[in-house]
């Protein structure tokens, strides 16, 4: 046990650098994915026929195929189309596209849950369709989405480990390097598991806080009095 702590201690700087890369991948994936997801959710709910089909196509394609395949297609496949990207940008793009498809479904569900009534009430005072979406529907739908949506950042944080397979220097890649260097794969992978666990724990706490902060007084999902 003591040995393991010593190992962990000496490897810490490498792990921290890796953890930063992992966090960066997660943050970019979640944020860019959010923009993509929101746009596709809106397109799917409110768009005309073409926009709706475009959104459905994107969502189904990226939810229906493995993230790893998507990553390889971006990194190894795009050069074939004359677009060569570095490792990090490739990972960013694949993660964002993948996460966007999942986030779209969470957001779509909560937009639909807000219901037609709010749209009608918004239109009735003279707000345009887009204004009603912007000021009435989305502020409620986004809050409503948080509990279920919170799975996505946590899940994506762990999924970023696939970036290891195109040698992005993330946490997983560092673990592998240390495992080889020290001939102690168990120690290395346990250490990396502990770090993932800690990051998930902190992220979860942050998301809980967000959920608490966004609560509408007197209003809960079922529309009952809180």
């Amino acid at each position: 046990m003591a040995e393991w702590f010593y190992f962990f201690y000496t490897a810490l700087p490498a792990f921290l650098n890796g953890a930063l890369v992992t966090l960066e991948l997660t943050a970019v994936g979640v944020l860019a994915g959010f923009v993509l997801g929101l746009a596709s959710a809106l397109g799917r709910v409110y768009g005309g026929r073409w926009l709706r089909w475009l959104a459905i196509g994107y969502i189904e394609l990226f939810r229906g195929t493995p993230l790893l395949v998507q990553l390889f297609l971006v990194y190894y496949g795009l050069p074939g189309l004359g677009l060569t990207l570095d490792r990090m940008p490739s990972a960013f793009i694949a993660l964002a596209l993948n996460s966007g498809a999942y986030q779209a479904e969470y957001l779509r569900g909560s937009i639909l849950a807000i219901g037609e009534g709010q749209m009608m009430a918004g239109r009735a005072i003279g707000l345009s369709r887009w204004q009603t979406i912007r000021y009435i529907i989305l502020p409620q739908a986004l809050r409503l989405a948080i509990p279920a949506w919170s799975n996505e950042p946590v899940s994506l944080l762990k999924s970023t480990a696939v970036a290891f397979l195109i040698a992005v220097p993330d946490l997983m890649t560092r673990a592998k390097a240390l495992a080889v260097q020290t001939y102690d794969p168990i120690g290395a992978y346990i250490a990396v598991a502990v770090i993932y666990l800690a990051m998930v724990y902190v992220l979860d706490a942050f998301l809980k806080l967000l959920e608490e902060r966004a609560r509408i007084p007197g209003y809960s999902v079922e529309g009952k009095k809180a």
């Binding site: 009534g117 709010q118 009608m120 009430a121 918004g122 239109r123 009735a124 005072i125 003279g126 707000l127 345009s128 204004q131 000021y135 009435i136 502020p139 409620q140 809050r143 509408i216 007084p217 007197g218 209003y219 809960s220 529309g223 009095k225 809180a226």
Partner: protein
């Protein structure tokens, strides 16, 4: 006779093969309070939604202050809609906004009024419905009656030419109905033009200057409340009115004012 404010001519509405109403015409004049009654599923809500363009009628024309709002070249639908207030059976307040913000949002986003001015106006409207002390409450923190009064204030803030009420008290517990009716009576006294779908026959007899009995997508009969209650042309009208008067009208608690 006073000016017509809202006029509908030969409105027809269908959903698929289902004709909701056919060739309905009506005219709401300045300071009128018109009560529409009729059995469930007759198309009363659909008619109100057509009148403020929330639903498109299949055919027919609608004029607001002499301007045809069903003519797409006349004005934008959003502009027309803000001049026609609407109050819904289930209130439909914006759940994420306080009472004050519910009333303000139309002023700031539609009328582009500066924040401070909008706030003052919103406070005035909440005063009008007796709810300034609840300005900071969210809809989920208000009773049904209070929510409906905020909804009325929200519509009033836009300074509509006419107010449409779709069964504004039928989702309320009996003891909360009075406070909403009191606000509506006060509006009628102030000269607001109103078209009200309701089963509150006490309100109809006391406030309405005209009553419309709608059945199966048609206006079967219209006249003063006394005409319809005491001298109806059709037996059907008499039956229906007295039945709902028994169910709703008599039991309604007397409110002050």
């Amino acid at each position: 006779m006073s000016q017509p404010v809202l006029v509908a001519q030969n409105l027809t509405k269908t959903y698929g093969n289902n004709v909701i109403f056919r060739n309905i015409s009506l005219s709401v004049n300045e300071r009128d309070t018109i009560v529409i009654v009729g059995p469930s599923g007759t198309g009363k809500s659909t008619l109100l939604r057509c009148l403020n363009l929330l639903t498109k009628a299949d055919s027919g024309k609608i004029w607001l202050d002499g301007v045809e709002i069903t003519d797409p070249t006349c004005c934008s639908e959003d502009e027309c809609r803000q001049r026609i207030g609407m109050v819904f059976q289930n209130f439909l307040l914006f759940n994420h906004l306080t009472a004050l913000d519910n009333v303000m949002i139309g002023l700031t986003k539609v009328k582009k009024m500066p924040k401070e001015q909008a706030r003052r106006k919103a406070v005035e409207e909440l005063e009008r419905v007796g709810l300034v002390d609840r300005a900071g409450h969210y809809p989920g923190q208000l009773s049904g009656g209070q929510q409906q009064r905020v909804a009325i204030a929200r519509a009033l803030a836009m300074e509509p030419r006419v107010m449409l009420f779709d069964e504004p008290t039928s989702a309320l517990d009996p003891e909360l109905i009075g406070e909403v009716l009191a606000v509506m009576k006060q509006l009628a006294r102030e000269g607001m033009t109103m078209l009200v779908v309701t089963h509150e026959m006490g309100f109809a007899r006391e406030v309405a200057n005209r009553m419309i009995f709608m059945e199966k997508g048609q206006i079967l009969e219209e006249g003063t409340p006394d005409d319809l209650f005491e001298r109806p042309k059709y037996e059907r009208t008499r039956q229906f009115l007295w039945k709902i008067a028994e169910l709703h009208g008599r039991k309604a608690p007397e409110e002050n004012g």
